[in-house]
Symmetry: C2
């Protein structure tokens, strides 16, 4: 809802950076690095997909409707925080385009800037890295709904920032995200 | 987590006012009235039990474990917001003492002030009022888990504020809540 006075003393606006991409593509790494750059000068909160599953989505699985519901919940909390001027960094696989677009639309309805950050790397690279050992299990048929292997991932068609995490160093990806924020006057010039 | 600098420019601290009580006892009325008094000078957010059920707890019912999970989720979101200096007004029946105490404990762990506000009125009065027509249905045996009729309500043992909503006018209840905040230096003196 709109407020009649600025009860925040002119502090920076809230916004949502929505990190999407396959498991292991670098969403958490990037969001944590962005947080480090922002948190000295403004409120920041990371909404991590795994954490949210523990705290808000216990009981939900990885079927399409359950994933959609999970994303809807992250979106709801992200808007609540962004409304109060927090820079929200949401990092969740969020494989369905329609779900991400719904969060974007609901943010726009409340005047909250929403930037989609696509952390991308070729599947072969992720399978090779396999930090959590999940790809191995998914390829062995042990994980029935594993995004990219046994479950679909619908890449963003027009992400505000696309980062090829197998080619760009983290610091460069972060810099491009900050640039995107500066371009929208969501961050002071460097 | 702790922050090294005050990125909020000395704005007021966040806190949680947790309104508990039977359906129709006045939780929403009181929380909305408190919001009106606070929102001119500071960020405020109401977390309404019914709204949360729509956005974060679709699929949860009214069994004990489901109610506990619902309260846990409201508590999680309340802490996220309060951490960013929002005055959070949570209004949910929250019938189980243990659930409310858990939210209180987790808030305390993060240094977030938590005040339990007990909106109380005798069951006879609520049955007589029956604004939503729910007591009639519950007494007819149509609502199997209706707090106060077919489901337990465990009253707070030491609420920070107890308001007898059948005896006190709303304005007086609100004033006592504001006094409790002033007493804890969470609100400027009147």
């Amino acid at each position: 809802m709109e407020r009649s006075r600025d009860v925040y003393g002119g502090r920076p606006r809230g916004f949502i950076l929505w990190f999407t991409g396959l498991s292991g593509a670098g969403k958490s790494t990037l969001s944590q690095a962005v947080r480090l750059r922002l948190e000295a000068s403004r409120p920041v909160e990371i909404l991590d997909g795994d954490e949210i599953r523990t705290f808000l989505s216990r009981g939900l699985g990885f079927s399409k409707p359950d994933r959609e519901e999970n994303i809807r919940r992250i979106g709801y909390v992200a808007r609540l925080l962004a409304r109060h001027r927090v820079a929200v960094l949401a990092a969740a696989i969020s494989p369905y385009r329609e779900s991400r677009d719904e969060v974007r639309r609901l943010a726009a309805e409340q005047g909250i800037p929403f930037l989609e950050i696509y952390a991308q790397a070729p599947l072969e690279v992720l399978v090779q890295r396999d930090v959590k050992g999940l790809y191995k299990r998914a390829l062995a048929g042990e994980l029935p709904n594993f995004t990219g292997i046994s479950d679909p991932y619908e890449p963003p068609e027009a992400p505000e920032v696309l980062i090829r995490t197998d080619q760009e160093p983290v610091a460069q990806g972060v810099e491009r995200i900050l640039q995107a924020l500066r371009g929208r006057e969501l961050l002071e010039p460097a």
